[in-house]
């Protein structure tokens, strides 16, 4: 059924279609609308059997999901930003135990400075946590990825994070085609756990493992993610066959065939990039977009194939590895190792800074002059003023507050002390 619907509501309905048995969550913007909608669906009795647990923290949310999943229930939670960081110990525990939990991350910046707007710092911080990470380009894909995520998680016995851009997707009303319950039921069989707490067949889960076998347990987790590289496209194809929405599953290609310049990105910015590419192509610039849907496992081969014909690659990242620069870019470089391709990193959209088509077009046109690491639309005048303050006086004060005063966002009680 086609609906004009908010991204969060659509995802909540998609999750409900997957018939989770335990949902637990702790509210944090911009994830709130998803769990609010799910709590209503459960409370109304429309989703049965399902337990909705209002927990007291994200650490508890993931822990409840761990207990539920280990007891054989299909378990779901959602979070973002500080919430994801607060649950990290349990995030690693879930993947280490091989529990197929599905979690939405409504991507949001990480503080300090506190910021509720979108970027990918939160989920990127968990890239090595052992979770599969899928990134949605639009709300239709967010819906589709959530339904596939349960099947994927349960097939490979690994937890799956479905990442969708906070506000840009979660709060956007778009037309979305919702699959019907019968289609989802046929696509997604009941959860058959590989391991389960059952008094009739007792096992222990969570034993301590020393040097004698720890490497092997980790290696097997890696193996399972490598298997997922095969499973993801297979599930995407199967899902495409019943819904008519056929996707590769690992990557998305846009006008790549003759592209000399390729921009690599994740998430909703791909839409903006596609528009930019269309405009530039009219001016004769041979540019395309490679979207990475599955960031973990990272599809090295698909990325290498997709980029093989390119001369220049720009990796547009909504996260920053402070002290080095790009995160996705390093993965892309591994994929194209040995090919004569320039890979540059462009950091964009941190903390919700709009990524403008104009700026992207200019960046692409000037690709050959780009530094290895560029910050798109960085307000250098703000940076310079703060650096000048730092040089002028030892007690130059808190950076965030200084910058806010400079942009006129707050008053300036300390102005007398500040060099102008």
């Amino acid at each position: 059924m086609r609906k004009q619907i908010e991204g969060s509501a659509a995802v909540a309905q998609a999750v409900a279609l997957a018939r989770p048995e335990v949902i637990c969550a702790y509210p944090i913007s911009p994830q709130t609308h998803i769990v609010e909608a799910l709590s209503a669906i459960v409370k109304s009795g429309d989703l049965q059997p399902c337990e909705f647990v209002n927990v007291e923290s994200e650490f508890a949310a993931m822990s409840v999901a761990i207990g539920a999943s280990a007891a054989g229930a299909r378990a779901y939670t959602a979070t973002a930003s500080q919430g994801l960081l607060f649950m990290v110990e349990a995030v690693y525990n879930a993947s280490g135990l091989g529990l197929p939990i599905v979690m939405t991350v409504a991507n949001r910046a990480i503080g300090a400075p506190i910021n509720i707007w979108n970027d990918h710092s939160d989920s990127m911080s968990q890239r090595d946590s052992g979770w599969i990470q899928l990134y949605a380009e639009d709300n239709q894909e967010a819906v589709d990825l959530h339904i596939q995520a349960f099947k994927l998680a349960e097939t490979v016995s690994l937890p799956v994070m479905v990442c969708m851009d906070g506000f840009i997707l979660t709060h956007a009303v778009e037309e979305v085609e919702m699959p019907d319950q019968a289609t989802v039921d046929a696509f997604l069989p009941a959860f058959e756990p590989r391991q389960v707490l059952d008094p009739a067949e007792p096992v222990s889960i969570g034993a301590m493992v020393g040097p004698e076998a720890f490497m092997e347990v980790r290696y097997l987790a890696h193996r399972r993610q490598m298997e997922a590289l095969e499973v993801i496209p297979a599930i995407a194809a199967e899902y495409g066959a019943v819904t008519g929405r056929v996707r590769d599953g690992l990557i998305s290609r846009y006008r790549l065939d003759d592209a000399e310049i390729v921009v690599v990105a994740l998430g909703s910015v791909i839409g903006t990039l596609q528009d930019t590419v269309d405009a530039l192509r009219e001016q004769g610039v041979l540019v395309g977009v490679l979207g990475i849907t599955s960031f973990r496992p990272f599809p090295l081969e698909s990325v290498r194939d997709a980029l093989a014909g390119a001369r220049s690659v720009v990796v547009l990242e909504k996260a920053l590895a402070v002290g080095i620069g790009g995160i996705v870019a390093n993965n892309v470089r591994t994929a194209v190792a040995g090919l004569a391709i320039d890979v540059r990193t462009v950091i964009a959209g941190l903390g919700g800074r709009p990524i403008l088509g104009e700026s992207l077009a200019e960046m692409i046109r000037g690709v050959d002059d780009l530094d290895e690491l560029t910050f798109l639309d960085l307000r250098t005048e703000l940076v310079e003023r703060e650096l000048q303050r730092n040089r002028a006086t030892r007690r130059s004060g808190p950076t965030a507050e200084n910058l806010l005063r400079d942009v006129g966002a707050v008053g300036d009680p300390l102005s007398v002390r500040m060099p102008r």
Partner: protein, 237 residues
């Protein structure tokens, strides 16, 4: 199943929720040490209590972080020496006026059942577990378990020390339902706290050449306070 140091209560809630969703009546028990209960796991435990999830949570209280080498926890008693409250300085050992009384914190949640017990009286412990399992909702049993290594006591004195903790009044053994104390274990033979403290090396600094009578009196006052608070009587048996 073992998940993490601080999340036993929440994992138990997850198992309980799964059982409910599946329409099964498998009961859930969660266990943790005092550190996992009163410190790092208090948030999830309080959440489990507050939701009144059908979980029995048992805390094994040996009054410090023993796994990591006897560091102080929020359940370490005043004056006790631990690796992070050394017997040095003007006020050796753990500080007075700190720490958490978890059974009373549990009672403040008005959950159906809270009990304390010690390993000195296994029948009492067994009866309390049985009683707890006959009740639905969040239940909490706090068990005092001496730790020979951490307390600096002889292994053979483990049961004796648990009994002395109760008989001195330092560790009140009681039951509470919905926030009200409903039963207390009477004391068979009241003992001064020194009888309990002296065999433990963690209190050795109180019994040097000149005993630290002031500190011992403060500990005795705590025991007296417990006896009046819980109306614990001495009975002839």
């Amino acid at each position: 199943m073992h998940s993490l140091f601080g999340n036993a209560a929440a994992v138990a809630t997850g198992v309980f929720a799964a059982m409910r969703a599946k329409g099964r009546d498998t009961r859930v028990v969660a266990q943790a040490g005092d550190g996992g209960t009163v410190d790092i796991g208090l948030g999830p435990l309080s959440g489990m209590f507050e939701r009144n999830d059908d979980v029995l949570f048992i805390c094994y209280d040996n009054e410090a972080y023993m796994n990591t080498g006897v560091q102080r926890s929020g359940a370490t008693p005043p004056a006790a020496r631990t690796a992070t409250t050394q017997a040095v300085g003007e006020h050796p050992g753990n500080v007075f006026g700190q720490g958490k009384d978890l059974p009373r914190i549990a009672m403040a949640h008005e959950i159906p059942y809270v009990a304390t017990a010690t390993v000195a009286d296994l029948r009492d412990l067994e009866a309390k577990v049985e009683k707890a399992m006959a009740i639905r909702g969040a239940r909490y049993i706090h068990v005092l378990v001496p730790c020979p290594l951490g307390w600096g006591s002889a292994s053979k004195d483990t049961i004796l020390l648990a009994r002395l903790a109760q008989q001195s009044g330092l560790f009140p053994v009681f039951e509470a339902e919905f926030g009200e104390v409903t039963a207390v274990l009477p004391i068979r033979r009241r003992v001064p706290v020194t009888e309990y403290l002296q065999p433990q090396k963690r209190y050795a600094h109180l019994f040097g050449q000149t005993p630290d009578t002031e500190t011992i009196e403060r500990i005795q006052a705590q025991a007296d306070r417990n006896l009046s608070r819980y109306h614990i009587d001495e009975v002839e048996i």
